[in-house]
């Protein structure tokens, strides 16, 4: 069975479900837009995390619980949002004191490219897409743990490279890469595949990864 035959309908769920297992009870977490926002629904009931929204929330929704007037409460994408009871609205200075100051336990975000040294590129494709970095550069520098959650390839092209070719978001910041194909740790010597999607062979993952990939001697199935 090869990567192309993976059921793509629940690809995002596979990634989000696995990322959820990385979070600990009490963690303070910042989730990037898109796939990472699916993570909370897969948390076990005994794992409660506090979500940060860099726009200025500690204890962001998802469920509307207190003020949810969209003129006054939005998420990082400007969409209507809400805050939990016991949360706090903070200004942007405090928001980035939390982010840059090492107070965020983990951030989960997407990537255009990641490489063997844990370098990350996720904010610009020169000449094509120049949205700006928003808070991403601060997040990946400041969070205690940086988890990339993404599809393993982009239209069949590897996104995990020996060396990023796109402009970097930060140097050596990535700790863990979670894709629909498996889980890859960034180690001082390079990338280590520690878990694999049970529908795939190691050769499938290696073929879809441009960076050299060590295979853990205790490789397990991705849950």
């Amino acid at each position: 069975m090869t990567a192309t035959t993976l059921d793509r309908s629940n690809l995002k769920e596979i990634v989000a479900r696995r990322v959820a297992r990385e979070l600990r009870d009490g963690d303070f977490v910042n989730l990037g837009i898109g796939l990472p926002t699916l993570v909370p629904q897969f948390l076990p009931t005994d794992v409660r995390v506090t979500l940060q929204a860099e726009v200025g929330m500690v204890g962001a929704g998802p469920c509307p619980e207190v003020d949810a007037d969209p003129r006054y409460v939005v998420d990082a994408g400007g969409k209507p949002a809400s805050i939990r009871i016991g949360g706090a609205f903070i200004d942007s200075v405090t928001s980035f004191t939390l982010i840059r100051g090492g107070h965020v336990d983990a951030t989960v975000l997407g990537a255009l490219q990641v490489d063997s040294e844990g370098n990350l590129a996720n904010w610009i494709i020169p000449g094509k897409m120049v949205p700006g970095m928003g808070g991403a550069m601060d997040l990946v520098v400041g969070a205690k743990r940086v988890i990339v959650a993404m599809e393993h390839t982009q239209r069949g092209e590897p996104k995990i490279l020996p060396r990023c070719t796109l402009p970097l978001t930060a140097l050596g910041c990535v700790n863990l890469i979670v894709t629909e194909m498996g889980v890859i740790e960034v180690q001082p010597y390079g990338l280590l595949l520690t878990e694999i999607n049970p529908d795939l062979e190691v050769a499938d993952v290696v073929a879809a990864t441009a960076a050299p990939l060590r295979i853990s001697s205790s490789l397990t199935v991705m849950l």
């Binding site: 726009v55 007037d69 006054y72 939005v74 994408g77 808070g135 520098v141 970097l168």
Partner: protein, 218 residues
Amino acid sequence: MSKLISVEDAVANISDGMSIMAGGFMGCGNAHNLVQAIIDAGLKDLTMISNDASMPGYGIAKLVEQRRVRKLITSHVGLNPQVAVQMNAGELEVELVPQGTLVERIRSGGAGLGGVLTPTGIGTLVADGKPVITVDGREYLLEKPLRADVALISGYRVDKNGNIWYRGDARNFNPVMATAADVVIVEADHLVELGDIPAEDVVTPGVFVDYIVTGGSL
């Protein structure tokens, strides 16, 4: 000396070519009436300093759409397609700054500091041409302070001293920008009496505020 003035008198403090800070995040926390008054007054060639360019038709996005902005200093423009159009046409200059660096540069300008030493941006395009300072073995970029001629602030409750209380996360860049401009104008959603905002709950003390206009909130 009342700080309370009309929206028209408030924007009379602004001239073509000035730099303007606008609080807000994707339009949430923009001073919507002041933005409209700037458009109505025909002001142009502005340098805007704001977290983002908002979303089409909302808040400060209108200033870009109406081509009043010559330069944007911002962290994110992805939700306002007009920015890319004007940028690619060479009509709009965009300086992209990491969000945490942007807020600290503004803070630095308001607090009389010489700049920011941040690890953010090291090894990236953001570092181009900037001094790198090593402190205790770790490298930091020296990012310069930012100030503006005018700051447009949006507040939910504002008293006559200019004390501001913000609702929700419409707060965002507003408090820090209120510290870093020569003229600070707050658009009040609700004008309240002195004492209605408990002294402990004031977020922006009125001494930062020069003028108050009323009629805020869409």
